[in-house]
Symmetry: C3
Subunit: 503 residues, 3 copies
């Protein structure tokens, strides 16, 4: 069973990659900014100008966020590090699932970015082609983040095959929901808190609910000193580069403000997470689970309004609340969800992404309702494009004197905009939960076998392990340890150890 | 006692964060460059121009260093990584204090940056408000570095409460000393070797002296293979991004030169540290303590003169000397300080920051005394503003033909400037040591209880630990290991293990 | 013997550093762009413009790659991280050689960059001086990469002395080969796959062949869970920043395209490496060796044509092939080389660098032969300078209307250029293998004693270790563990353990 199953993912992987190859061959081309034919001159131009149109053609994330602006290469790299090092190591906290965490994160993200370039692209073809640019690559990273958040809720409980199927299904649903929210409802969400964090979290939790099993909590679902320290590598890089995630695609001043808001919200959630983590503990000790996760909640909670005039006070307040809510969530809600609602959440994505994203959506609506031209000046209509006067009105003509090239809007009021913000949040919840339940049903199909209890949170099932690792328990066997790095194809006899015992 | 005490830090933390919130609400606003109202136009402007005035208004560090120039976002992020990943992991070398190292570093830095924005800001209010910008955030990181250096001398020997009090006290003293040195004495210190490294080290050592205890050196004050490897993550990111620390706020060519000088000094101190580490060892082996710390000494030692015309030769020479002095310090001075002067220095900050910073101060004075218009051209008066001719003189008028907008100076000679450089170093020593002794006295107060011997360099006292960790010693108990990540509030029974035994 | 030997490397190191100091004093100066005297004005200029000429004067790597363009500081830092964190941690997979991996990597790289600045510089003196700039520093990192790749083949089997001698010899040979290939043969190689990866790999393998020993494979040549996880830190930073390695020195659009090509090739090699790793395993498990290394093969394989019009399809295809070939290499070729040809390759650099670099060279030739003005437009003559019309021809005059300042070329056809590409690859193979055999012979000399079998892949021989580390085997001795970090000069009694047995 295991065996037949394990066969599957290798072939599935190769098939997916070859299909991507064909689709890229048919549909994907360089964006003109990256095409040698359109080389404008000798003079050096930084990624910035080069990629000017990138954002606007490439995919929804930067379109709507960047309003035609583009990410800088540096900020793109920051986000790239968050996806592969940040998420990858954050999930290594499980003491026996380190390879599965950082390895599957690596694999899933590499599949997700390719699939995201295609799916995002299909919604924004240009002359029958998908034009790939730095903007597309950043957008693909955002999509990958969504899938990895869902993965966090399922960490250690799925087979690689299930993960791959989830990735292939979740991404189209994600893109549809984002297009709905941004293009149809005209909601803004600079840091993607609603479209990435809320969506990813509730999608993953819905899948987890469908795959619920009595034996989900085992002794292996714990950490040790080393695995918790590795997890801090992930936490810190996520925490440090989060301003690039929230501000990467914003223009000019907005980018500067989004950096400040995110930085401040993160410092506040860090401090409040430490405080509450200690307060709730009977021995008043800090809990690494909270330090690894809840310190980041501020980055999520400020996301939707990262570019709004929240002022430093607002950013700190949002950060404080997010840190507090997140730790309380780990303390009371996670166990409740697991026991009462049978929603088991390995990484606690509901506390790091789910609830803080709900806060973000509401905070975004509040600031949207309060946004006035007194505070924002003309840029109000750049940040909230649909608040601009309608086409052909005198107001628009008037405004264009200040903002040449301003696109006509729908003359929305702040309160109307706020309403649409909340509607987008609601739609995201409905789409992600429905999509998650559907996907869970698919992953539960008979043909896909599930993990045995003993394989939960356990690398041995899918990763070749040196016997070295067993030494702690069986010092005697040390001498027989083979040489992994001579890469001699060997039947690792660890297959005989209890970790491998077919359950 | 422990218990009552442990209560304290959680409440203290929450109180501090709420006070910050109120102060930010009253005093802190976005810098105009980050304020939507002043959005200049559609066209994208990179952080650079956006933040042009940031440096000059925000806080002393970038004012004086940047002379009105601003950090780029990329360099800011490099420094940000140094503070949280660099310092955090560098201190994880203790085999039983990894959480305390990276965790307390995270917490202290998050408190410090907020406090630094406020305190720096109070010295540079604009229209009754503190204007926050990318420049303020970078400046806050420099201040955090100072506190973390002091923390290094005390690593594993303080309670969180003591650390928080130290943070709150040290920062105002730091800012006063920097304003004294830069604004009143007109000393230059591009890499902050005097104002950050010397100050932080001697402040921390003074505190350590007051808190001196007979039982400071225990068996737990050691490293193991894994903890030493984690520490290398910190070392390498500090070593790699140090050029951003020394050059971040410098203008044009000066920035380019500061990068080259720092890079070369670091490579030289790396090589000389390896050489001396081996030479001094009876078995001629390398010592990870030296590799983790002394390889960085060159970055400190070149700091003050990072932007001066030291030439590659000078940068290498300074780096070589710093590496040699630092390793000798670990070998002979640290034990001497601990035994004779009762100054126990857990991380050896005196060898990584203290002595190299003294070298930096002297080297800076030497190069300042040698600086001539022949070598520097007109930019001499940009790098040493007080060497510019005095107001109303013909020389100033003449010079402004070459350097329009040049500020009048005091017509200082190179030797005079050198004298003030040394004076600033002396003042820094006096202020930091006095401030440290004072702070130590406060931290020693009865109401703050100190760590028991068994709690020194030990996570178990303040961090919830999986029993997993005890396995090495008690394999039998493994099965009873609870699930940390289900986050069920449980009384970790490890409280029963010897690590927890109330001393 | 050991002892006398271990003396050597400390003195050798100090001597090398002092010789570098003298040579820098005589020959090295700041590039004008970094010289205060040439400070152009007040206005801030980003590294970019500042360093405009840097590339063209500093050294072959950026000259030829950058065609007068310069690296940005951010991309330089990415590459810098790859060299010290990427390579350093990638090699920490050995369970008992973590210090030797990250430590020797640190030392060798720090020596290599200084030596590279000198040797590169000697080939491009300007007015009797070597002008150092950001361009030189990036170039030095590329050279260091070459040495570290060779080091990978020898990991755990050489003494520090042997490593240092190898570094001093390999670099001049590397520079000669690169000048031959770029300047004399006019080969292009944007990502340095031929000049860095192929050269480094085959040079190292040739050395390994000469130093071949029967006892090369020992039980210690294995990994454990922790060491494999540390290695992933290296893998991921290499994987993430590889686009900066391949695109760092490219101009405008070419840089944008090189980023896209590299990013796509890396994602494809990641997926195909996972797939094949599982397929080839009897239990269908993933093998960390492949995940750590073969996922990167795409970055090497696309290197030479990173800036060519490969289109996304081409980049993916190259990546897929590279990942497949690399894993097959680990599975079948590495054991074959070790057993039949007596070429032992500790890290499998032949699979990560060697074969993928051969693919890169061939792919580069293919795309070069296919390059037409229809596809590239005028920039064809910027990317392939020797395809430009010859001096004094009407075509050149004509073309200069479109590309003012275009340098005259040799009017090469695509096929001719392809031929020279293959010739450069061939020359690189011959030079690197010959150089490696020669170097190996020198390292084998009697005066340099070699490691005893028990010292292979073992830190204890050259690194001071806490007894803590021995605990696994001798729990009883724990209490006697000394304090490393009090840095008291002590005779670590671990000298008594078997690891230390004098050979």
């Amino acid at each position: 069973m295991q065996f037949r199953h394990q066969h599957k993912h290798a072939y599935l992987l190769m098939a997916i990659q070859l299909i991507f190859l064909v689709l890229f061959g048919i549909f994907v081309r360089y964006h003109p900014d990256a095409d040698a034919k359109y080389h404008p001159s000798f003079k050096h131009k930084d990624m910035g100008t080069e990629d000017k149109h990138g954002g606007s053609d490439a995919h929804p994330v930067t379109v709507t966020e960047g309003g035609g602006h583009h990410p800088t290469y540096g900020m793109f790299q920051d986000v790239h590090v968050m996806i592969f090092v940040g998420f990858g190591f954050l999930m290594t906290f499980l003491k026996r699932y380190g390879f599965g965490a950082v390895g599957n994160n690596f694999l899933v993200a590499a599949v997700a970015v390719q699939w995201a370039i295609l799916v995002n692209g299909f919604f924004h073809m240009s002359g029958g082609f998908i034009e790939v640019s730095l903007g597309s690559l950043l957008g693909a990273d955002f999509v990958a983040a969504t899938v990895l958040i869902s993965f966090g809720a399922l960490l250690g409980k799925t087979t690689p095959t299930q993960l791959l199927i989830l990735t292939m299904i979740e991404i189209p649903i994600f893109v549809i929901n984002e297009v709905l929210g941004r293009s149809y409802l005209g909601a803004i969400d600079m840091g993607d808190s609603m479209f990435v964090h809320a969506f990813g979290a509730y999608f993953g939790l819905a899948v987890s609910r469908v795959l619920a099993r009595e034996d989900a909590s085992t002794e292996k679902e714990g950490s040790d000193k080393t695995s918790d320290t590795f997890a801090m590598v992930g936490t810190l890089f996520l925490w440090l580069y989060w301003p690039s995630f929230n501000a990467g695609a914003a223009p000019g001043e907005d980018q500067h403000r989004a950096i400040i808001n995110t930085y401040l919200a993160l410092t506040a959630s860090c401090v409040s997470a430490f405080a509450i983590s200690s307060l709730l503990d009977p021995d008043k000790k800090f809990d690494m689970v909270h330090i690894q996760n809840s310190t980041l909640a501020g980055g999520v909670a400020i996301g939707t309004s990262a570019d709004l005039m929240a002022q430093p006070f607002g950013a700190l307040l949002v950060g404080i609340i997010a840190g507090v809510v997140s730790v309380f969530g780990y303390y009371y809600l996670t166990p409740f969800l697991a026991s009462r609602l049978r929603v088991h959440d390995t990484c606690g994505v509901h506390n790091l992404h789910g609830m803080p994203a709900l806060i973000a959506g509401v905070v975004g609506a509040v600031y949207a309702s309060m946004a006035t031209e007194e505070v924002y000046g003309p840029s109000l209509y750049l940040i909230f494009p649909l608040r601009a006067p309608e086409n052909g009105t005198a107001e628009l003509t008037q405004m264009r004197k200040e903002l040449p090239g301003l696109e006509p809007g729908l003359n929305r009021t702040g309160v109307t905009q706020a309403g649409y913000q909340l509607l987008a949040l609601l739609v995201t919840m409905v789409v992600s939960i429905t999509g998650g339940l559907l996907t869970g049903a698919i992953l539960k199909m008979e043909m896909l076998n599930k993990l045995e209890t003993d394989d939960l949170y356990e690398d041995a099932c899918y990763w070749k392990l040196e016997e070295e690792e067993e030494v702690e328990e069986q010092p005697g066997k040390r001498e027989s340890s083979g040489s992994l790095n001579a890469a001699v194809p060997m039947m690792v006899s660890s297959a005989k150890t209890k970790d491998e015992a077919p359950a």
